[in-house]
Amino acid sequence: MVRVRDGDQASFGLLLEKHRSPVVHFLHRMVHNRAVAEELAQEVFLRVYRSRENYEPTAKFTTWLFRIAMHLGLNWIRDGRNEKFHDRLDDETSDGASKQVPDRSRTVELELVYQAKLREVRQAIESLPSKQRAAVMLHKYEELEYTQIANVLSCSESAVKSLLYRAYESLRTRLAHMA
């Protein structure tokens, strides 16, 4: 990002290559709609690009990136537009086929089992309070460190540990039958 700030355009492409998928995946888990997630992710990178001249490497770049993503995701959810665009958790098209890309290496039966499991996991995470949900997504799926998560969520590191402890405990209870 420092190279982007200093005028190296090619480095922006590298940043995009590295962080595109994680940002889209994070936003998709927040907003549950792929098109919206990509739209928001584009906005994240647009903001990064716009801010390039003023960038100061005071913290890890990923922390800043996910802060922007979190902010945009929460704004979108709070705006209340999510009701119209929200993919239903059962995520089915009109002909009954699941929108989640099926793995062709699985049998139909296994695929159904997998989709049911996926629905349960999504519902379980969705049932968490928003900060716990965000902490789990950043910790489990984006593999951020505690300090980074604290920065993104604007809380202390010990608060993050507490959030994660409570979140995982709830999830363990709810998903115990999957063990």
């Binding site: 355009q9 090619a10 492409g13 590295k18 990923t62 593999e143």
Partner: protein, 177 residues
């Protein structure tokens, strides 16, 4: 009043036509087509990477290929190529060898290697060096020996589980013995 609005409308419409975004006017390109980066199971490409192929095209063919990109992306690509070609030739060749080994793997394996390298780059320099040395030490081992080494407790003592995962996932980049 009406005629003035009509004239304004025509003027503004003419202006709008000149401002149609190039992407729209040129229609769908498909852009950076993220088709799966399939390996080369048939060995058709041989040791040549797409960069080698590009460099050996005629100037006209190269320009034709580049012209498919929007100007900003074209400039960016040309600068990146210049940067790559400015590397010492030994380093270029090492990278190309790594690239070819990566692309001999099935697509899912390629993705897991890429993710592992990404995770690797996020570790501290000291831990990167430790993992790098471990890979270096495994260069001359057979696949089985490498696996055996990574199963031993000494390996688990030297690296935490995340690092163990990174080393395991990057091991396919090592040359076959």
């Amino acid at each position: 009043m009406r005629w003035r609005n009509s004239i304004l409308a025509v003027i503004a419409a003419a202006a709008a036509l000149t401002l149609v975004p190039p992407g729209l006017a040129q229609g769908k390109r498909g852009g950076m087509n993220r088709a799966p980066r399939a390996g080369d199971p048939g060995g058709k490409r041989g040791p040549q990477t797409p960069i080698d192929e590009f460099e050996t095209m005629s100037p006209e063919q190269r320009q034709k290929a580049l012209n498919r990109l929007p100007p900003a992306q074209r400039d960016k690509l040309q600068k990146r190529l210049q940067k790559f070609n400015a590397l010492p030739s030994e380093q270029q060749q090492s990278l190309k060898n790594l690239y070819n080994r990566l692309h001999q793997l099935p697509p899912e394996r390629q993705e897991s290697v890429r993710e592992a390298v990404s995770r690797f780059s996020e570790q501290s320099p000291q831990r990167q060096q430790a993992m790098r040395e471990e890979l270096q030490n495994m260069t001359n081992l057979s696949g089985e020996e490498r696996q055996g080494r990574m199963d031993r407790s000494e390996f688990r003592k030297r690296f935490n589980r995340k690092e163990q995962g990174i080393v395991r996932d990057m091991a396919p980049l090592l040359p076959a013995q």
